[in-house]
Symmetry: C2
Subunit: 569 residues, 2 copies
């Protein structure tokens, strides 16, 4: 490829809306261009990277007997009603009417389509297990897109769906996928990927894992044990805490606290530490409107993902108005109306001498002994794990790290096959709902994640396996006939040998050429100049600078081929 | 691939909604499944065919220096307002609002996105010419989808856009694309493809060509000269007709024709042949509502594409109500109100002794001499060419054939670069709007078109270049250990050598296996049976039946590799 013809402008200026480095660099290198909020166009280099990522994924999916298929982007409402998700998914799903007033949606995931394709087409246990996958555009109307291709509204995803006769069969295949995913991220060139247990969210099902690229700019928080192998998304990481109980329990007492309602205000006024207070956090069931009150130790935070799972429905934080039943700033566990649904975090179990709202304006109650005063209450783990807390497995200290979710795998159970009534005949000739797994990787996010992990002050640094081109061929003084002749000769020779070359055929300075090369992150730079030609050589340098060598022109192609094949897994 | 695991049911029953053969066969073979009107899911075999078609297209696009990019499926209204197409395109374009009430559209083509990507990113004439292309999903809300993947609402298209500094530059590149397209359809395995001049329709611009696969089930009509090289879509095929003039012109006379208003009724009543009558056909400007009357010889038909081009706007047939100005059944060229816009077909030029409406109820006028009575009238070619009329180039007879449009190429001019204000600096340093070309091929339609051209009473017949698998390996009596051993051994051997094999590992009869093989259209069938193994051989037969040979087991793989490489262009 001739650089002079490449569509895409390289620039030194960081885009003003870029909050993370990969976003800025991808835009500055002319790889991606914003079309609308969360919607991007990809120029040739980004498209080439995506194609290489897609091909690595295809190879690994085919290696676990995947059948590549294609589901549509646009689907009829009916399909999503069968699974119940037409109503359970909110604004993220785009809905519209066609010219005949039929309701259609844009696919955000394809479980429904996968079941639809196989239903009636697969009839016997002998056809199972099987896995189908596709690479297809999805649209999710994210409220908040960010980070270049990290969180967008339109994206291409590899999504796979496996079908099994039993949970054991699923688990066996799930492990193969688990390993295939590990290979994929390794081959793509990601270094710090942690596999963590996760919440299955809107997918339903129980066991799920996320592949997290650990990086400070990641939006997700991952809990990792400093000693054992425990890793989990904070959304599901289990909390383990010391009992919060003094030797002697005080009596209950109502105290006047005026307009003090925040934990820190009450704590200061009454001279009690935050962990001896009971915090009430209020939510609303997104569909029924029911009010939910979650009680938790004052110094801890509610983990909304855990709470949501308990409620079984989508919840949103609610700021209540004072009413006959509830006084927003003074909600407490004693004497609260039964018109609201109540949850207690395990951090309150057996706690005593606690301060909580009195359920009347301007008053709190001190001396609450949860064991004594709140009989029959159920406790659930609905708190967020904090740095340095104890590992639920080995008891050692936990660390928190940020990560980007680059892939996920789910055990779905029969949620979709049952909901959509897909059956196959088992060995005994009886109709049975197959058990499903599903497995996703976003292509653009993978690209951006590698860029986020692999860059320096000069620009992007692509791993050889997904680099847009292997070599940046950089002649200096192209007006020199000898340089021109040798550069074009090498260009042809490399391409004939299957080496992918971006040829900087511009009549511009060495400085501009070198900085463009660094910004674009091409793994190998080959310089041909009047000076190098004096020794009949070219200078070959790796983008990471750990390789720099003058090589005889006649050996350049073979040496480069060696470097390339050694650096692709 | 093991056939036992392949998702997709093969059946003998034709789907009731299938009107053409390829549609029925693709469904019967389990290749495609309807999800909603004009929206399909593709099973593995169809997806494999698409991938091969896509790769052939990619190779040819890269060979003419194409840069593969990616534009989004969902685009903001603003982009389409810049080009003026947000309002000029009708219901075919899906429009919807996102969660923030922003107007978005689903891309039906990507000229706007192409200009958007290059605008500001390409600044100098030195970067031109260049071509960018993508393979991307489009959605067009077709009123009438049909024919399996022939005419659908959602489809993947290869669309390419070239940018040039001059019309000459565009024409030179256009010719390269013209040739690349011819190679593509040849490599895909289409036999009867005609390149015809066409109307540029909603794309704008002037010169355009369509690649038409000639087949009786095609929806398009193509005009071909029986002698010279003239070929054109009937929408633009020029009409050449004998003068329609008698030696002596009669006088004008109003005659009472009562309720006779159709050409055949008037013709019968007044005893004049249809070609001596003037037919008035009425339309409405889709946007302004203006009434349009097109006059044409009574025995001919209006070519709406030609008329639309003259009007410059979209038109729809209008059935008028009688009013003060216009009497629907009696419209004629003499005395017609000037409140309607009038067009005359060239078939009326110099015609005399014609019968036309009298512009009053129940009356016609006879003896109309167009030269004498309609001074200053302009004549345009707005008629449909008929079978056996004269070639506008050589005068020989024209033939009409049906065809499926499998590709199209357009010279766009500066419609989009001007409308969207994309400029580059020319050699003299002045800002200039580049000239564009655009070039499309629908992937699914290509697949269905090949299927339509290439099948027999038993099923599909895939050309080797795009076949889902090269070989259908068909062991008979897999319960025989010797058959089993040799079949699996050959399966592994073929796959190791890069031969794509669909292995029929089912415990079923030879009849079922052979008919599935024929239905799916795999080019080569390899049978291993107790009988063939007596001679240590396998029977290799081509789907077309023109090759059938018993081959020693040790030679099967190499022979098959030879057949494959000989049959792929």
């Amino acid at each position: 490829m001739l650089l002079s013809k490449l569509v895409g402008e390289r620039t030194k200026e960081n885009p003003s809306d870029a909050t993370i480095r990969s976003h800025a660099l991808l835009v500055r290198a002319g790889f991606i261009k914003l079309v609308a909020n969360g919607i991007w166009a990809l120029a040739m280099p980004a498209r080439r990277i995506c194609k290489k990522i897609e091909n690595i994924i295809r190879e690994e999916m085919d290696a676990v007997e995947g059948q590549e298929v294609s589901f549509p982007v646009v689907m009829p409402r009916e399909l999503w009603e069968e699974s119940g998700r037409y109503s359970s998914i909110g604004d993220e799903m785009v809905r519209f009417k066609d010219r005949n007033q039929k309701d259609l949606v844009l696919g955000m995931t394809h479980e429904e389509a996968a079941v639809y394709l196989c239903r009636n087409w697969v009839s016997s246990y002998q056809q199972l297990p099987f896995m189908i996958y596709q690479l297809q555009t999805k649209f999710r109307d994210e409220a908040r897109s960010r980070g270049g291709l990290i969180r967008v509204r339109e994206f291409v995803m590899k999504d796979a769906y496996s079908f099994h006769m039993s949970q054991e069969g699923l688990e066996e295949y799930y492990q193969r996928m688990y390993d295939a995913y590990s290979r994929i991220f390794k081959r793509i060139g990601m270094k710090k990927v942690a596999v963590v247990k996760s919440d299955s969210g809107m997918m339903g099902g129980n066991i799920a894992h996320e592949y997290m690229l650990l990086t400070p700019s990641g939006e997700d928080t991952i809990v990792l044990c400093s000693s054992c192998d425990y890793k989990a998304n904070i959304e599901i990481a289990a909390s383990v805490r010391e009992p919060n109980r003094d030797d002697i329990s005080s009596e209950l007492e109502e105290v006047f606290t005026a307009d003090k309602i925040q934990i820190d205000e009450v704590s200061e006024l009454l001279k009690v530490p935050a962990h001896k207070t009971i915090k009430a956090v209020t939510y609303e069931n997104r569909y029924s409107g029911e009010i939910i009150v979650a009680f938790i130790r004052g110094d801890l935070e509610i983990n909304e993902a855990k709470l949501k799972k308990l409620v079984g429905k989508d919840i949103v934080p609610a700021s209540l108005q004072d009413s006959q039943d509830v006084f927003a700033g003074n909600i407490g566990p004693i004497g609260l109306t039964d018109k609201v649904k109540v949850f207690f975090d395990t951090s309150l179990k057996e706690a005593n001498n606690m301060v909580g709202g009195a359920n009347k304006p301007e008053y709190h109650i001190t001396g609450i002994d949860v064991s004594r005063d709140l009989k029959g209450v159920r406790f659930d783990d609905i708190s967020k794990v904090r740095e340095n807390e104890k590992c639920p497995v080995c008891g050692h200290e936990l660390n928190l790290e940020n990560g980007i979710e680059v892939g996920n795998i789910f055990q779905l159970g029969d949620k979709y096959t049952k909901g959509m009534n897909m059956t196959v005949l088992n060995r005994e000739g009886k109709a049975q709902h197959p058990i499903m797994g599903c497995y996703g990787i976003g292509i653009g996010r993978a690209l951006s994640s590698v860029a986020e992990e692999s860059n320096d002050e000069y620009g992007l640094i692509w791993p050889m396996s997904i680099a847009p081109w292997h070599v940046y061929l950089c002649p200096l003084r192209l007006d020199d006939p000898l340089v021109k002749e040798n550069a074009y000769k090498l260009y042809r020779e490399l391409e004939e040998q299957g080496v992918e070359v971006l040829f900087d055929d511009r009549d511009t300075s060495a400085g501009v050429k070198f900085s463009d090369c660094d910004l674009m992150g091409i793994p190998l730079r080959v310089v041909i100049s009047p000076r190098s030609l004096k020794n009949n050589q070219a200078e070959v340098q790796s983008r990471t600078k750990d390789f720099n060598k003058n090589i005889n022109l006649s050996d350049v192609t073979s040496e480069i081929k060696k470097i390339i094949s050694n650096s692709i897994l």
